[in-house]
Structures are given as C-alpha cells and as structure tokens.
Symmetry: C2
Subunit: 497 residues, 2 copies
C-alpha cells in the first residue's frame, strides 16, 4: 500500500501543475495582454516539461512496484489507467513535450490574429508547424493503421477508424433523408430571437441560467471569450466562457448551456480522487455527451422551453410579446444549414464534424496540404449543405482546435451527441417525472442521475467500457436518429415516416 500512497501524492502534484497550466491557458484566452504571448508560451512549456519529468522520474518507477493484491477494485482500476496513461505519455521525449506546449500557445495566438484578419494565409505557417509537430507525435506513439488513429487515441482511448467510419455512415444514412424531408416544408419562424438584446442583459441572463440550473458558482465562474470553452484550474475551480452576439440571443443561450454541461461534468467528478484517473474526465466523447445533453436533449426540449420562456421574456419582453413556449421550442429547433459549427442545428451539425474529421485525417495522413483547406472546405459545404462560408473567419478559421494542437478530436463531438441521446433515453426511462421536472426547472434529479451514471467514474473506464458497464449496451446511433427524427416530425409537423 505504501507505494500506492506515494503514487497518489505524486499524482496530486502533477495535477497541481496541470491546474496551474490550465489557469495560464484560460488567462491567455480571456485576460492576458497581447504582448505577453511569447513568455506565456515558454511558461507553459516549462510547466509541461516539469510535469513530464516528474512523470518519468518519480511516478513511472513506482507503478510496477504496487502489489495489486492489496488494492480494492477502484484502486486497481486507477492503477491500471495510470499505467496506461503514463506508458503513453512517456513515449514522447521531454524536449518534444515542452516544444509542443510552447508551439500550441503560439499557434493559438496566431489563430486569433488570423481570425481577426479573416486570413487563412496568415494562419498557414503556424498551422503547418503544428501539423508537423502532431505528425511527429503520432510517430512517437507508433501506429499500425494510420497516424491519425494514434492521435485520436489521446482524446478517445482505444477508438479506431474502423469504428468511426461506420458510425458516420450509419448516421449520415439516417440524417440525409431527414434533411431532404424538410426541404419544401414551411420554415419555422425564428426572427424574434434575433431581436437585439444588450450585452449586460444577456450576461445577466446567462449568469442566472447557470445559477438556476445548478452550476456551482462558488466553485466555478464564467467569463466572455470569442470561442466558448470550459477548463478547470482544479475540481473546485471550473471555468466556463460564453459569447454574446447582440442580434442572436441563441448564440449566448446555447453556448452557455453547452459549456455548462461540460462544467457540470467537471464539478461532478469525485474530488477525493484528485490527480487519479477516477478524478479526471473520461474520454472527450463522454465530455461532449454532457455538453450536448444539456444544450440539446434538455435545452432544446419542449419541456425545457416551457420553463425557459418566462425567464427569457424578462430579458427580451418585446421580442416575446404574443409568442408562446411552443414558438420558442420550434424556433430553437429550426433546421437551417449555415457555415458556423457551434451555431448549427442538431441535424446539420454532424456534417460540420464530418468535414473536420476528413480534413484533419487527411492532413495527418499527408493527403491534404494546410493551404488547400479553404477550397476543400467550400467544396464540401457546397456539396453537402448547399452553402459556402462568407469569409475564411466563418470557414476553417472558426474553430480553435487545430491551433492548440487538438487534431484527432473532432470525431468525439459526433460520438458525444450519440452518447447524449442514448443517455437521455435511459434517463427518461428511469426518471418518469423528467418532463414535468424540466417544465418546472427542477434539475436536481438530472444532476443526481448524471453523477451516479457518468461523473462518478471519472476515467476509470473508456467510453466504450462505460457504455457496456453502465448502460448495459454499446454505443448505438439509432438512439440519436430516433430522438432527432421524433423531434423534427413534431417541430415541422411532418407526416410520420
């Protein structure tokens, strides 16, 4: 047991360092003065190098020494995950880890500047360096199939391309006919949500939603950023950002609900397991399942719209005069292809993910050059959604992910939506009063359900294992297809297929 106690202590120190790095990263996005970027990059590099060194010199040598017989079930799972994670992390040389952390901070900055100028050209050199770095990362990990698979594994342990491709196929096979069936239908009116509402009022509503829906503001906070994100400086310090667009109340509403879902997951992780896999969020598909669940399955449900309507009316009374909760429900579920992923409806969203998945995979497999992305992007959107981005800022510059080195991440967004629908179906079965509770803003049973079924496990299981263990079945895209099709039949008053 002694070795395991020491392992817990060292893991906690490592987590202190990554919490500090998270705060530096958060600060870089929301408050850091622009001229500090180079130094911030080296600071993050130093923290990453130190973490790597402690991992290699202190944690790794202890891992084989633990006598597993003396551990209980959870401790055994923690140890097994720690061994896996450490083994993978130590495939990267320390100098590489440091350089990549520095590069990520710089590339992120280059992306922000390029986005302001709406110039992909301006972003190319930085992204090329990052793609090169990620390619080397994949080589360090090693792979049998594709270097992309090696990268994807960091976000979704164990996920293979042989799983991803059929999922997208199955999904698109359901979504494409659904989209077609909406063509020619009278569009649902949503212009009233474009009534301008001032920044202060939107901010006040956003904070109120967080408070009323159970995000713990004693152990978290919210700020503004151009690209909404969630990060944790520690389990008691979960930081969300949202964005405000004066003529688009939905942008704030659903960014807030989305990031809140991520934040509730972080707040729900067992704090007693600080630094251990049990205390860490699991794969990104499960993380995304939490954000999509609150944003869509809950946040765009009929029952929730009934609760939201009077609240919203306090902040935009003129816009909602003469409207009903049903109008709100229909408006927020309007299907309309557009260029921006985070503002996409639930149906066309996955086309955006497919695009990014194809781009990043081809980038890493050397089949697409960074400079050719905008053309590929436009052609893909035109072909699949019949639209084109108006500027490069609304095109491939819209997302932060590649800039921070998150390549191999996007498929988890689709998996997250699928898991969310599957969870929601199970939840609805197990909480028979769910709809009534949503209508009255009674969210505690949902929190309890999610903590017990999802949060408490941290990353003791991969998403695949978790699904089998907890839901008793593997990931099944049919849940999502059924959920969405049922909703759109209702919203668009379609003939039932």
């Amino acid at each position: 047991m002694e070795a395991f106690e020491t392992i817990k202590k060292i893991s906690a120190q490592l987590k202190d360092l990554s919490g500090a790095a998270s705060l530096l990263g958060w600060d870089q996005e929301v408050y850091m003065p622009a001229g500090a970027i180079e130094r911030r990059a080296t600071q993050l590099g130093t923290l990453a190098a130190l973490r790597h060194r402690i991992l290699a010199e202190e944690l790794a040598p202890l891992l084989p020494r633990v006598e597993t017989a003396s551990l209980n079930e959870k401790e055994r799972l923690n140890l097994a995950q720690l061994r896996l994670q450490t083994q993978k992390a130590l495939k990267l040389p320390a100098a590489f880890v440091q350089a990549q952390a520095e590069l990520a901070a710089r590339t992120q900055y280059a992306w922000e500047q390029a986005k302001k100028q709406a110039s992909w050209q301006a972003f190319c050199p930085a992204l090329e360096q990052m793609v090169d770095s990620k390619h080397r990362e994949a080589e360090y990990y090693g792979y049998t199939n594709s270097p992309y698979e090696a990268l994807m594994d960091s976000y979704e342990p164990g996920l293979t391309l042989a799983e991803v491709d059929p999922i997208f196929e199955q999904l698109l096979a359901g979504l494409v006919p659904l989209l077609k069936s909406l063509q020619g239908q009278p569009q649902v009116p949503d212009a009233f949500l474009a009534t301008p509402v001032g920044k202060d009022a939107q901010w006040a509503l956003s904070m109120r939603l967080l408070a009323e829906m159970g995000f713990d503001l004693q152990h978290g906070r919210q700020d503004l950023s151009t690209h909404p994100f969630t990060t944790s400086a520690g389990p008691e310090d979960v930081r969300l950002t949202t964005l405000i667009v004066e003529r688009d109340m939905q942008a704030m509403l659903y960014s807030t609900l989305h990031e809140m879902g991520h934040g509730l997951y972080e707040q729900g992780l067992p704090a007693h397991a600080y630094g251990l896999p049990e205390g860490e969020a699991s794969s990104l598909s499960l993380h995304e399942s939490q954000s999509r669940l609150w944003e869509n399955n809950i946040g765009r449900s009929q029952a929730f719209c009934q609760w939201l309507f009077p609240l919203l009316a306090e902040y935009m009374p003129h816009a909602l005069a003469g409207k009903t909760p049903e109008d709100l429900y229909r408006a927020v579920n309007k299907v309309q292809p557009g260029p921006i992923r985070i503002q996409a409806d639930e149906l066309t969203y996955h086309t955006h993910i497919l695009l990014r998945y194809q781009v990043e995979r081809q980038l890493i497999e050397g089949r697409l050059a960074v400079r050719d992305i905008p053309d590929y992007w436009s052609a893909f959107l035109l072909q699949h959604l019949g639209i084109q981005p108006t500027t490069e800022a609304d095109g491939p510059l819209q997302d932060i992910h590649w800039a921070i080195g998150a390549i191999g991440y996007f498929p988890t967004y689709t998996l997250g939506s699928l898991y969310a629908a599957q969870q929601y179906a199970h939840m609805a079965q197990q909480l028979p009063e769910l709809q009534a509770q949503l209508r009255t803003g009674h969210f505690a049973p949902i929190h309890a359900w999610l903590r017990q079924r999802v949060h408490q496990y941290g990353s003791l299981y991969s998403a695949r294992e978790w699904s089998l263990q907890v839901l008793g079945e593997p990931l099944d895209p049919r849940y999502f297809l059924r959920y969405l099709s049922d909703k759109l039949v209702q919203v668009y008053a379609l003939p039932i297929a």
Copy 2:
C-alpha cells in the same frame, strides 16, 4: 562560460514558475471562485516546493563552478547576487517553503473573510499561525540582533534596525512640528472631490490615465480589487489593480498612480535579463520609491494638477465647475489624519508606517500578541494622530501584508518615500523642463530618466549601493522633509520657517 549559460537557463525556468505562481496569486485576488481557495493553496505550495527543489538540486551546485574571470562586469554582479539569494533561500527546508506558501494563500483568504466581517477575532487564529511560521523562518535564516531583522532582509537586503530607527527618528523630528504648524490653519476645501462619480466613469478615467501616462497596456493590464496591488506574471505581463469608491475620486486616482508607478518599474526592468537579478526588481524600498514618486512627487505636484484638471473635468464636470487647477492641487495635498494608510496624506502616512513597523517587530520579537493588536493600534493612533479607527476593518485589518506573510516589509514604505523625494530632486535638477513637461503631460523624459537611473539596474545593487552608485550619495531624509515642507507652506500659505 558554459556553466553561466546553464545558470541563465535554469534561472529562466525558475522565473517561469514564479511567474505562473504570480498569476495564480493575482487570480486568487481578482477572479478565483471562493470555493477554490484550499486547492489554490496547495497548487501554490507545489509550485514553491518545485522552485525550491530546482534551486537546491540544479542551480546551487552550478554557482561555485563559474569562472568569474570569464564574465563581464554585469555578469559578475548577476552571479554575486544569485549566490547571495540562493544561499539565503536554501536556508529554508523545502517542506517549510511549501507549507508556508500554502499557509499564505489560506491566511490571505482568512483575512478577506475577516475584513468583510470587520472582525479581528476571526482573523486571529490564521495570523497567529503565520506569525509562528515567520518566526521559524527567521530562526532558519539566523540572526545576531533580532529575528525581525532577518525577515526585513528579505524585502530590503542588508537593511538593519540600527539604520531604520534613526531614520524614523529624524523623520518624525521633522514631521511632528510640521503637523503642529498646520493646526489652527484654515483647512483646504476638498469636498468637491467627494462628488459621486459612477464606477464606469472612474474606470474609464483610470484606464485613460494609464494610457496617457505611459503604462504599456500591450504588456500589462488593470483590474479591480479591494486592496490595490501590482504583480507580474512576466516582464511583458504586469498586472495592476485599483479600487473605486464612488464618493471619493481621490481613492481611485492615487491608487492608480501608485500602482502604475510599481508597474512602470516592472515594465522598465531589462527583459533580456529574464530570471537573473538584473531582470528582477530591486529591494522593496526602490520599488516603493517608484510608486510614491508617481503618486506624490509627480501626482500631487502643482504642474501635474494643471495637466490633470481638464482631464478630470471631463469625468466630473459639475464637481469641477468654477474650480481651478490650483484648487485641485490644494485639495489633493490636504493634510488630515485618518485611519486608512493608503488614503493618508504624505505627512501623516509615515505615522501609519511607524505603527505597523512597531507592531510587526514586536510580534516577531514576542513582545506583542496577535489578539492585542487592535488595542495597541487604537492607542497609538489616538496618541499620535488624535484619531481612532471606526471599525477593525479600518484598523489593523486594512492591510493585506501580514496575511500573505509580508512581515518586515512596512519600513520599506517609508524608505520608498524618502528615496522618491531624493530621486525627484535629482531628476528636477537634471531635467530643467520637468515642470513644463508635467503641465503638458509629456512624461517620456521622466520614463527615460527612471529607466536609466533606476530600472535598468534591476537588483544588481541593493538600494543602499544603488544610491551611492547612481545618486552619488546615501539615503538622506532631508530631501523628503524639504520637499514636503515646501509644498505644505505653499498649500497652506504658511509663514516660511
């Protein structure tokens, strides 16, 4: 040379870590959710322990190996200071450093809570622990005279009690009669500065002052906090805070100028010497000389008030209607004993410092108990200034210093004022157009003077050495006494002594 290059590299890493810790500390004061305090404390402890370890295991062994013959003058000075600082730092055991960093974060939080409740009682247990920890720190350093001297040395290297006491005596011998000479004089009108001005307008003015006076907002920022402070997350990331009191424009004005002075010093340090003593601020008396210089010698001068007046009038037009720059000049130099140190006039300010110096010295020498401070405080203020704090929040709870373990720090505030007056006298001689430049808001020559005479040296010299080297004379309180007496004779139209 090779060893010295490695030393520079390790020093830069250490500075990366202290920059990260500074950001965590800044965040704790301005944005951190309250429930994160315990974790923040351990994070800061981990960072401090790591710094200490790198210092002990990596930096210290290299220091004796450098062949000084191969170094130039500045490198030699850097090395000598590094050796001194490292030797001192390593007198503290790593576990102690970690525990004290954690304690500081917790005590700071306890102080904030106690201040909100205006309850010294609530703060006592935390402060008692801190005093105990600081006493142990002094024991680790070792001392011949007083443990207080050992602590003071951390803020003002080489300063002895044998120097401090006569300085206070000489100062008070000049200030007490000056204060007496004002009694019975008609008081200068300053009520117009208590006209309420909204938070947004005050904030806008504060930011405008920073910009117009040369604080580089590309490499720094300002936020709000209850206790204004300055910290650096790096030389390109200098963070100020100010406070806003709706019915007291002076509180914001002079907090902003004061912290800006600290910030300009941090921004003026040679960034190429990142991590080396040359790149670090010198003793706190020189740091405070920069803040007091901008706050008082410049900020409360007749010429500056002429520049400030029309600017101020944009933000409080009604209050300044019918007033003149001369009215402003007199108002901001009004002498009026009050309970709050940071709002004290330049004359009674040093009585506040003397009080804190006596309290903290007696605390560390075991001659005063934490719980007896409020009585001591009241009696002292009554005796020396004829006033008493209205609540404990306005009494010994007003300052953050002891809470964060800064005991032995306060005397440097008085030294800072003295150095500021001495610098200002030299500057005025060397910049014959100084008054005209202040009247027109032309601050560049002042920045250049300060960078060349003060900032560029970093901490290559102690304040005492710096004074001899650069001003060509030791610290001399007569500069301050002459400066203040000249000004008050003018403001109060006193008969010239």
